[in-house]
C-alpha cells in the first residue's frame, strides 16, 4: 500500500502551492481579457460606455509617459481587430478539428480514403495560406455568393463576407495541419490497445473511438498548442483579403499617422498576450486531462 502511494504521488502534480509569479500572470491575464471584453461590448453596442474606438481614459492623463499615452490612445482601435483575430483562430481550430479527426482516421486506417486524405493534406500544406485565401476570395465566386446571403455584414455582429471567407480558409488549412499532428499521435498509441479492444468484441470504429482516440488526443495536445500559436499569427494573412483584424488595423492606422514602429510594436504586444494565453490554457488542459503513466516515457 505504501509503495503504491509513493508511486501515484509522484505522477501528478496537484499544484496546490502558491506561486507568486503564476498569480501575477493570472492577474495580468484577467486585466487584459477584462479590458478586451469591455472594449468589445462597448463597440458592439454602438458605444455603450464611450464612443467606439475611443479610450476609456483620456491619453492626456499619461503624458508623463509618452509610450503609455500612445498605447492608451490606439489600443481601443486595435481591440476590435483583436476580436477578429481571436474569432478566426478559434473558428479555424474548432471547425478544423472534427475534419482533422476524419482525415487522420482515414490516413491511418483507411484504404482508398487514405489517398484522398493524403491528397488533401499535401495540397493544403504544400501551398501558401495566402494563396489559398486569394483563391477563395477572388477565384471561386464565393465572395459574391456569401455577400448575397441574408444578414451578412449588415445585421448586428454578423461579420462581412471577407471574414466568412477567412474562416473557411483557416478551417480548411488548419484541418490539414491538425490532421498531421493527430496522425502522429494516433500512430504513437500502442497497436496492442486496438487489438485488445477488438479482442473483447468492440468494432474497429468503437475501438478507435473509446480506446485509441482518448489516448491519441492527449498525445496531440502539444502539437495542438503549436497549431494554435501558429494560427493566431497566421490569421494576420486575412488582412490581405480586407479583413480588419489586428494586423490590418495596425497597418491602416499607421498609414494615416506614419507611426509604423509604435503601432506594430503595440500589435506585437497583443499577439504576444494572445499566444501566452493560448499556451497557458493548453498547458492547463494538459494537466487537467493527464492520466498517470500516459504520455510519459515509462507509459509509452
Amino acid at each position: 500500500m505504501a509503495e503504491s502511494d509513493s508511486r501515484s504521488a509522484g505522477s501528478i502534480d496537484v499544484g496546490n502551492r502558491y506561486d507568486p509569479l503564476e498569480a501575477l500572470g493570472i492577474l495580468a491575464g484577467a486585466l487584459f481579457w477584462g479590458w478586451l471584453l469591455f472594449r468589445w461590448l462597448n463597440d458592439w453596442f454602438g458605444g455603450l460606455f464611450v464612443p467606439q474606438s475611443q479610450p476609456f481614459l483620456s491619453p492626456s492623463l499619461f503624458e508623463f509617459f509618452p509610450a503609455l499615452a500612445f498605447a492608451v490612445e490606439f489600443a481601443p482601435a486595435l481591440a476590435s481587430g483583436v476580436w477578429l483575430t481571436v474569432l478566426l483562430t478559434i473558428v479555424g481550430i474548432a471547425l478544423g478539428f472534427p475534419i482533422a479527426i476524419v482525415l487522420a482516421g482515414a490516413r491511418v486506417y483507411g484504404r482508398a480514403t487514405r489517398w484522398v486524405a493524403l491528397g488533401y493534406i499535401e495540397l493544403v500544406r504544400g501551398t501558401p495560406l495566402l494563396a489559398q485565401l486569394f483563391v477563395l476570395y477572388y477565384g471561386l465566386g464565393l465572395s459574391s455568393f456569401i455577400r448575397e446571403l441574408p444578414g451578412v455584414g449588415t445585421v448586428g455582429v454578423i461579420p462581412e463576407q471577407a471574414v466568412w471567407i477567412a474562416m473557411i480558409g483557416f478551417t480548411i488549412n488548419s484541418a490539414a495541419y491538425q490532421a498531421e499532428y493527430l496522425r502522429g499521435a494516433i500512430e504513437s498509441v500502442d497497436p496492442g490497445q486496438l487489438q485488445a479492444a477488438r479482442a473483447i468484441g468492440l468494432s474497429q470504429v468503437d475501438g478507435i473511438r473509446y480506446v485509441v482516440l482518448p489516448q491519441a488526443l492527449r498525445y496531440a495536445i502539444p502539437g495542438w498548442t503549436n497549431e494554435l500559436v501558429y494560427l493566431i499569427k497566421y490569421s494576420s494573412l486575412a488582412a490581405f483579403i480586407t479583413v480588419p483584424e489586428l494586423f490590418n488595423r495596425a497597418s491602416s492606422i499607421a498609414s494615416e499617422n506614419f507611426r509604423y514602429l509604435a503601432l506594430f510594436s503595440l500589435a506585437g504586444l497583443f499577439y504576444l498576450a494572445l499566444v501566452l494565453t493560448a499556451t497557458n490554457l493548453m498547458s492547463r488542459l494538459e494537466d487537467r486531462v493527464a492520466i498517470p503513466g500516459l504520455g510519459t516515457s515509462e507509459g509509452r
Binding site: 505522477s11 490497445q193 485488445a196 479492444a197 473483447i200 468492440l202 473509446y210 492520466i291 498517470p292 500516459l294
Partner: protein
C-alpha cells in the same frame, strides 16, 4: 457425448513465404485446460490468434460450440472467445474498473452502473477489489495481468485464450497470476494456454500440446509428455525447460 467446444481442422497460415501453421488439428471439450508449448517461432501465438480471428487463417476450419468461426461475425466470436495478452494491453487511459466495464457497456449493452458493479465483482474475483480505481501505470505487472484476466472474464466467454500470460512478468509476480489461472481452471473455465510454466502445465492442464515447426508434434496428458515423450525433440525441449526452472527456483 456433446460436440467439442473448440474444433480446429487442418488450420494453415502463412506470413509471406513463411508457412507458420502447417495443418493443425485438435479439439477441446468444455472445461478442458490445454497447454501449448513449443520453441519460439513454432506458431503458438499465431494459432491462438487464428482461434479468435485476430489473424485470418489461410485454410482450415475452426468451430466454436459447433459454429464455424469463418461464418461468424468477428465481434460475436470475440464475445465468446476471450483473450489475455502477453503484454497485458490494458487500456492505458482507463482505471482498472473502466478497463473491465468498457466491453460490458459497449459490447454487451449494460447500463453504466450495472457495468461498473459487474466490473467490481470481476476485479474481486482476481483479488483486486481495492485497486479498482487505479490506472494501469499505477499497478504492478502482475496486477495488470490480473485486470487483463478480469476484463476477459467480464464478457462471459466460453473459451479463454492465454498468450504467454506470465512471460513479461518479473519472476516474483508470476505466482499471483498463475494462482488466478489455476482457480479459473478449477472453476471449470475452458482454457487454451500458451505458456512455458511447467508447474501450471503439470497441475492444471488436462492436455499438453507440443508444437514444432507449425505442426502438433505430440500431445497427451502432461505426465505422459513429461515422463515418456515419444519424440526426441519434445524430450529435449521439456528437459531444457525443466533445467531452466530448476535453475531459477533452486
Amino acid at each position: 457425448m456433446s460436440d467439442p467446444l473448440l474444433s480446429v481442422r487442418d488450420l494453415r497460415k502463412s506470413f509471406g513465404e513463411e508457412e507458420v501453421l502447417r495443418g493443425i488439428d485438435f479439439e477441446m471439450d468444455r472445461q478442458d485446460v490445454q497447454v501449448l508449448m513449443g520453441p519460439s517461432g513454432s506458431g503458438k501465438s499465431t494459432l491462438l490468434r487464428c482461434v479468435n480471428r485476430l489473424s485470418e487463417p489461410d485454410d482450415g476450419t475452426i468451430t466454436v460450440d459447433g459454429e464455424d468461426t469463418a461464418a461468424m461475425d468477428d465481434d460475436d466470436l470475440r464475445r465468446e472467445v476471450g483473450m489475455v495478452f502477453q503484454t497485458f494491453n490494458l487500456f492505458a487511459h482507463l482505471t482498472a474498473r473502466k478497463n473491465v466495464s468498457l466491453g460490458l457497456r459497449r459490447v454487451r449493452g449494460f447500463a453504466k452502473s450495472e457495468a461498473e458493479d459487474r466490473a467490481g465483482e470481476e476485479l474481486e474475483r482476481v483479488g483486486l477489489a481495492d485497486q479498482a480505481d487505479s490506472y494501469p501505470a499505477e499497478l504492478s505487472g502482475g496486477q495488470q495481468q490480473r485486470v487483463g484476466i478480469a476484463r476477459a472474464l467480464a464478457m462471459d466467454p466460453k473459451l479463454l485464450l492465454f498468450d504467454e500470460p506470465t512471460s513479461a512478468l518479473d519472476p516474483e509476480l508470476i505466482g499471483e497470476v498463475l494462482a488466478v489461472m489455476r482457480e479459473l481452471a478449477d472453476g471449470g473455465m475452458t482454457m487454451l494456454v500458451v505458456t512455458h510454466e511447467m508447474g501450471f502445465a503439470r497441475e492444471a492442464a488436462t492436455d499438453l500440446l507440443f508444437l514444432d515447426e507449425g505442426r502438433i508434434l505430440e500431445r497427451g496428458p502432461p505426465t505422459q509428455l513429461f515422463e515418456s515423450p515419444e519424440h526426441e525433440r519434445t524430450a529435449t525441449f521439456l528437459r531444457r525447460l525443466t533445467d531452466l526452472e530448476a535453475g531459477q527456483h533452486g
